[in-house]
């Protein structure tokens, strides 16, 4: 039954109508890579890849995570189909765990495809930086999905909160002096990807964006450990919360 929970969720998340937009977004990386190389006065392919990886692929990742996390439970509540899940002989924690795992898998697949398109467009498909990015994307998928699933279980209209976290907090916290970057996921993902500095600095607008976003980094092992703790804590909290609280169709709750 556990594998069916996972595989049915995987099928649901990879339905053509759902996945098509993400494939288009990933393929947009080809054009962005070409544009980036033209805009960067003195940059190499590697610089273009690193910049786009930070500014594009690692922004697609939380967006995909936010949207796909809603499908784990929140969307079932909105669509009032939650009742069919809750009255099956399945422990609720299993529903959370295996459906979240499917959302993580698809989120990783989307971000890996985006990274692969960028790497292929900049001829870096076999480089170390690409593989480190894949590792960061895998960790990021797990971290964002587990966090957003928890938020979606606790808060109504959680999509707004998740998007704000992904695009406002994650972008601004690393810019604030001090250690606030430790309260972001991006900070740790950059610790895993270990991106080198890009471009020549002040005169290159595109490069400066990338450098600012990557200004703070945790060390690699601290990043892995922190993310592992975050994922475990969020999943445990989600399982507990979902097992002990009532979920009814929103209109009737």
């Amino acid at each position: 039954m556990e594998t069916y929970i996972y595989s049915s969720m995987l099928r649901e998340l990879t339905r053509f109508r759902r996945i098509f937009a993400w494939v288009l977004i990933a393929l947009a990386g080809i054009g962005m890579a070409a544009l980036c190389r033209n805009l960067m006065a003195s940059g190499s392919s590697s610089d273009a890849y690193v910049l786009l990886s930070d500014a594009f692929a690692f922004r697609v990742l939380p967006l995909a995570a936010a949207i796909l996390s809603m499908a784990v439970i929140s969307q079932e509540v909105e669509q009032k189909t939650i009742v069919y899940l809750l009255t099956r002989p399945i422990p609720r924690w299993q529903l959370i765990l295996f459906r979240s795992a499917a959302a993580m898998t698809v989120t990783f697949a989307i971000s890996a495809l985006t990274l692969a398109v960028l790497a292929a467009s900049t001829s870096l498909l076999t480089s170390g930086v690409f593989f480190r990015d894949l590792a960061a994307a895998a960790v990021g998928s797990a971290a964002y999905v587990s966090l957003f699933v928890l938020v979606s279980l606790i808060i109504n209209k959680s999509m707004i909160v998740c998007i704000l976290f992904a695009f406002v907090w994650e972008s601004t916290a690393p810019l604030i002096p001090g250690d606030l970057y430790r309260l972001t996921i991006t900070g740790y993902l950059q610790g895993i990807s270990q991106h080198p500095s890009v471009g020549t600095g002040d005169q290159d607008f595109m490069a400066s964006i990338s450098n600012v976003l990557g200004a703070h980094q945790a060390t690699e092992w601290v990043s892995y450990l922190s993310m592992a703790i975050l994922v475990a804590a969020c999943l445990a909290a989600s399982c507990y919360w979902f097992s002990t609280n009532e979920y009814m169709a929103r209109e009737d709750s």
């Binding site: 009742v83 069919y84 009255t87 422990p91 002990t244 979920y247 009814m248 009737d252």
Partner: protein, 309 residues
């Protein structure tokens, strides 16, 4: 009921300041039991408590002797057909039922077999390959019933299952329920239509504003009602002639004319005897009768009587 699968003891459920179910004590055993009440009476709250979707605020709810909230052991023996008409619209009926079977823990082969069996049972085999989005209300009801019957459950709860079914569909649906009850299943059907319930069972739980107002055989309720005069309205183009013909009957207590002159309303304590007289108006006296209705024959009137009593 010695083999009651369902036992509620002083169960109450509050939604914030609003009470959904108020101090209900009852037990339900095999056979069809109707949960009768107007909209907002607490039927859905009671069904949600029994299906473990919500918890009681006070008192206790036991299904198979266990607390049902989020309890897979209970769900293994229980089928539920919700009132909400929501599905995974992109799926076909067969995909939906098969998915529910797999989530109920059946292997691929067993899920396929059971899916075929229940679809056949509800008469949806030939239409199960179509997308649910294109289903009529009646087809949706049948699919909901099919998924509730998948695990051959000992208890089946159906929330307003006859909504949207055509007369033939209703008949078939009721026959299915009766067949399940005949083999010892416990079936609880909620409805706000007395007429529907009477076709299914004599055993009822009558809810009003969250309280259990009456329980037992429907005829007991009827007897209670019969202590009060029944109103019977006859629509006719000759109300005076009809009134003149019936006023002399010993059980007619009162006659009232419609100001528009298109109907006449009688009050009687013996409605069955009165109804026996109506065909004679047409056959013997040749009076034109358009319709005969009873404004009392609805739940609202029953509640009024019961609350008054």
């Amino acid at each position: 009921m010695s083999e009651a699968h369902i036992v509620l003891e002083r169960a109450s459920r509050w939604y914030g300041q609003v009470i959904g179910l108020n101090d209900v004590t009852c037990s339900i055993g095999p056979g069809v039991t109707a949960l009768l009440g107007m909209n907002g009476a607490g039927k859905t709250t009671m069904i949600r408590l029994l299906t473990g979707q919500i918890r009681e605020t006070t008192g206790s709810v036991r299904v198979f002797g266990e607390e049902p909230f989020a309890n897979p052991r209970v769900f293994r023996r229980l089928g539920y057909c919700p009132e909400l008409d929501n599905f995974y619209e992109h799926q076909t009926g067969r995909q939906f039922v098969y998915g529910m079977a797999r989530l109920s823990g059946f292997s691929k082969a067993e899920a396929t077999r059971r899916t075929h069996e229940v679809l056949n049972h509800v008469g949806m085999t030939d239409r199960a390959g179509r997308k649910i989005a294109g289903y009529s209300k009646g087809m949706r009801q049948r699919i909901k019933l099919a998924q509730a019957m998948l695990s051959d459950p000992e208890v089946i709860l159906l929330d307003e299952p006859l909504n949207g079914l055509d007369p033939v569909g209703r008949r078939e649906f009721i026959d299915v329920l009766k067949a399940l009850a005949a083999v010892g299943r416990t079936i609880i059907v909620s409805s706000h239509i007395l007429f529907e319930v009477e076709q299914m069972t004599r055993s009822i739980l009558l809810l009003n504003r969250g309280r259990l107002l009456a329980t037992g055989d429907l005829s007991a309720i009827r007897l209670l009602i019969e202590k009060y005069p029944h109103r019977i309205r006859i629509e006719t183009s000759e109300p005076r002639a009809v009134a003149q013909r019936l006023i002399g009957l010993p059980y007619v207590l009162n006659v009232q004319f419609d100001p528009r002159g298109q109907s006449v309303e009688f009050q009687t304590k013996q409605p069955n005897d009165f109804y026996d007289e109506v065909p004679k108006l047409i056959l013997d006296d040749g009076l034109p009768i358009d319709s005969v209705t009873s404004p009392d024959n609805n739940l609202e009137s029953i509640f009024k009587y019961l609350v008054a009593s």
